[in-house]
């Protein structure tokens, strides 16, 4: 690996933006003050977009219409291009290879270089007649190749296949991208928004729709584009080495590390992250529900079966499902994450099965409430005690222990 790629890999959890909103109070305040304007702006822009789209569908001349349409989208979305070194564009390299920050990177790059891509949101891709991606990756490589041979157009690859924040690390480049061309020009993208209302352009777990909405909401989004010297495959260089070189050159330009995490890793992490976000922390909702005896009874029954599950988790789910069976299977199937109660707290006062005449443990533990259930131990003790009492009564014995 080259310089810029640090020796220790950053954890995958650090590679993405997780908060849409800025952290500083003054930024939040401006954002709040701006929001009525932002919303109206978003609505107006949305209408223009729809109109442009319809007009584009009607216009017959494909190439011309496409240019106009994409420029319109660029303006309407508030895409501001900050071209660092446009004259560095090396026309011998037809393929531009770049990192991926937002879902609209490709529009920004198209506006500056005319490089097309197939990786557009699907209605756009369909309308623009760009490559059909439905039949898997392999044919795409050959399709791109034939397109490159027939046209002078340049082509954009974003082999990370998923967005990152561009501040910590790059995802591993998909191996198929090396097959497209032997000479590729790396392009570094950085994205920022006005400080005063700095929202993240792409947030982990957010849908494309919301990401685009924030483009419409924010007055403008700056895309800083910087070409790096074109990289050609050296004799006998493997795909992996070639991509590694390109990844490192982009990474060192961004001062981030080139990681081995793939887009699939991101998808996996995203799932986990979303699950974590939905985790119930405290009892919310109807506070009177708890007072209802049948809810209480159900909660105790569930807690009896699953003593390691915290009460608040059970209460939360019971209030939702109103069914013991549903809640137990929810918990067992892992659809409700929770931190198990450690053994120590559960195993409090628990006597050895000393037979007693009455059955106070039941009453006691119920009145003690929280966490202290009729444990398995206590039920066993009760069974033995009852059997013993019955036996003594039946055989008319004197209970030596009770005396």
């Amino acid at each position: 690996m080259m310089e810029g790629s640090s020796t220790s890999q950053p954890d995958i959890s650090n590679l993405f933006e997780k908060d849409r909103f800025p952290k500083k109070t003054w930024q939040l305040v401006t954002l709040l003050l701006y929001s009525p304007l932002g919303l109206s702006l978003a609505i107006v822009r949305l209408f223009i977009l729809v109109q442009a789209f319809v007009a584009f569908l009607i216009l017959p001349d494909m190439t011309y219409a496409r240019t106009v349409f994409l420029r319109a989208i660029g303006i309407v979305l508030g895409v501001v291009l900050h071209r660092e070194n446009e004259n560095e564009r090396d026309n011998s390299a037809k393929v531009i290879i770049s990192n991926k920050i937002t879902c609209l990177d490709n529009i920004a790059i198209y506006l500056t270089s005319g490089a097309i891509t197939w990786d557009l949101p699907s209605p756009l891709a369909w309308a623009l007649g760009v490559l059909d991606t439905t039949d898997g990756r392999k044919p795409i490589v050959s399709k791109i190749k034939s397109k490159l041979e027939n046209h002078t157009d340049s082509f954009l690859l974003q082999p990370e296949e998923a967005t990152t924040s561009g501040r910590v690390g790059l995802l591993k480049f998909a191996p198929w991208s090396a097959k497209v061309s032997d000479t590729m020009q790396p392009l570094v993208i950085q994205v920022w928004r006005p400080r005063a209302m700095e929202t993240s352009a792409d947030v982990l777990g957010a849908s494309t729709f919301f990401n685009v909405f924030w483009f419409l909401f924010t007055p403008f989004t700056v895309f800083k584009l910087k070409y790096l010297p074109a990289i050609s495959r050296e004799p006998n260089e493997s795909d992996e080495d070639l991509l590694g070189r390109i990844q490192s050159s982009i990474a060192s330009e961004l001062c981030v590390s080139a990681t081995k995490h793939t887009a699939a890793d991101k998808a996996e992490y995203e799932k986990l992250y979303l699950l974590e976000c939905r985790r119930p922390v405290l009892v919310t909702g109807d506070p009177t529900a708890l007072a209802r005896p049948e809810i209480q009874r159900m909660v105790f029954q569930v807690a009896e079966v699953l003593p390691h599950v915290p009460m608040d988790v059970i209460i939360y789910d019971i209030c939702r499902t109103h069914s013991i069976d549903l809640t137990i299977s929810n918990i067992l199937e892992g659809s409700i994450p929770f931190t198990p109660i450690p053994e120590l707290r559960r195993a409090e006062p628990r006597q050895t099965p000393v037979p007693s005449r009455s059955s106070p443990p039941v009453v006691q533990s119920l009145s003690q409430g929280q966490g202290q259930m009729i444990s398995f131990m206590e039920r066993k003790a009760k069974l033995i005690a009852d059997a013993r009492r019955k036996y003594i009564e039946k055989h008319g014995l004197v209970d030596a222990w009770a005396e």
Partner: protein, 167 residues
């Protein structure tokens, strides 16, 4: 594999806790290990084991419910179908195919549709009606056939022992 076993065992534990059969309690000895259970079985009324509460241990294999668990009484037992070390010899605990005694029909063998509850109920009926053809404990089988009175006396002694009542 162990995951589905664990899930199944949790579900069975839940079932046994919510609707416990009369006189039977069963559950994991400690919640860290769901593959080792303890069970208490009450001797059925009207039999020589009436009133006794017999503790037993159930050990589940990692591929449960494909393979049956093993069951062993942890108290003293004297019964034709229980080995002297407490192991229970009963057809529902044998997978079809392994038939140590060669007399069991495969209909009453272990299969994944059986459950802990069914095992325990079978054990209860085994206590009530020993099968003296299976010689897990030959002495007990012989005494059951030939000297029922002595057998009942021993059973009574065991019952009292499990209840902590001096004989």
């Amino acid at each position: 594999m162990a995951g589905s076993a664990l899930r199944r065992l949790m579900a069975e534990y839940k079932q046994l806790t919510l609707n416990p059969p009369d006189g039977i309690i069963a559950g994991p000895i400690n919640e860290e290990n769901f593959f080792e259970w303890e069970a208490l079985i009450t001797g059925p009324d009207g039999t020589c084991f009436e009133g006794g509460v017999f503790p037993a241990k159930l050990i589940f294999p990692p591929d449960y419910p494909l393979s049956p668990p093993k069951m062993q009484f942890t108290c003293e037992m004297f019964h034709p179908n229980i080995y002297s070390d407490g192991r229970v010899c009963i057809s529902i605990l044998h997978a079809p195919g392994d038939d140590p005694m060669g007399y069991e029909s495969s209909a009453e063998r272990w299969s994944p549709v059986q459950s802990v509850e069914k095992i325990l109920l079978s054990v209860v009926s085994m206590l009530a009606e020993p099968n003296d053809e299976s010689g897990a404990n030959v002495d007990a089988a012989k005494m059951w056939r030939e000297d029922r009175e002595e057998f009942n006396r021993i059973a009574q002694r065991i019952v009292r022992k499990t209840l902590g009542i001096p004989t």
